[in-house]
Symmetry: C2
Subunit: 119 residues, 2 copies
Amino acid sequence: MKILKSQLTATQKMQYEARAKIIKAIAHPSRLFIIEELEKGERCVNDLTDMIGADVSTVSKHLSVLKNAGLIGDKRSGNNIFYYLRTPCILGFFGCLEDVIESNARQQGEILLACKTKR
Amino acid sequence: MKILKSQLTATQKMQYEARAKIIKAIAHPSRLFIIEELEKGERCVNDLTDMIGADVSTVSKHLSVLKNAGLIGDKRSGNNIFYYLRTPCILGFFGCLEDVIESNARQQGEILLACKTKR
DNA sequence: TTCATATTTGGCAATATGGCAAAATATCCA
DNA sequence: TGGATATTTTGCCATATTGCCAAATATGAA
C-alpha cells in the first residue's frame, strides 16, 4: 500500500498562485529594468521607451502588467503619467539573482576545466 | 529636437535577460512549492508529485526547469533521484512577496470602503 | 474647437508554456 | 537476462505571452 504525503490544501494552493502571479509580473527583462529605473525616481512611459528601445505601446503594456500586480502605481501630471515603485523591497531580491548567475557561471567554468584536464 | 536618454547597452540587456530567465523559472505555483519543500530537505519526484497532485511527468518538467536555471541540483541514489536547493537565498524573497500581497489586499479594502462611504 | 503630445487599447501573428498520456531510459534485484 | 520501480522524454493540444501597428482616449495650448 502506498503512503501518501499530505497534499496541498486549497488555501495553500491559492497562496502559491498569488505569489506566482507577482513573480511572473517581474519575470521579463524590460520589466526588471523598469523596476530598477523606478527605484531612482518617477518615470513616464516615454522616458522608459527611449531607454528600452521598444514600441511605446509595448512598454505601456509592460507597465500595466506591473501595475496590475500591485508593484507600481501611477499618477497623472498634466500630459504625463508618472509611474512609481510601490514596494521597494523587491530590489533586495536582485542581489540574490546575481548570486545565482555567478554560481551558474562558476559551475560552467568547472565543467569546462574538467573537459580540458581530461584531454 | 528630441533628447534621447541613454539606451541600454548590449551587455546590460544580456544581464537583464539572465535575471529574467531565473525569475521566470520561479514564477509558477508548483515550482514555488518545490523550492520551499526542498528547503526542508532533499526530495525525489515522487514525493513532490504526491503533494502537488499533478502528473509525474509534469512535476519532472518543473524540476528540469528549476535545474536548468541553476536553482536546484540532483543526485541519484539507487533508483531515486534526489533534488536539493542550490541557492537558499531565494527564500528571503518570499517575505517581500507577502508584503506585496498584503499591500494589494489593503488597497482593495480601501477601494471597497470608499465605495461604501460614497453611498 | 482644433491641433499636438502623451498614453492606452484592440487586433493579430509568432512564439512559449503547461499538462497529460504514452514511450523511452536507468537502476536494482532475482 | 527479465521484471519491477523510478524518472525523464516525446508528442500533442490548449492556452498564455510578447510585440508591433493602427486606432482610440486624454490633456493642454492656441
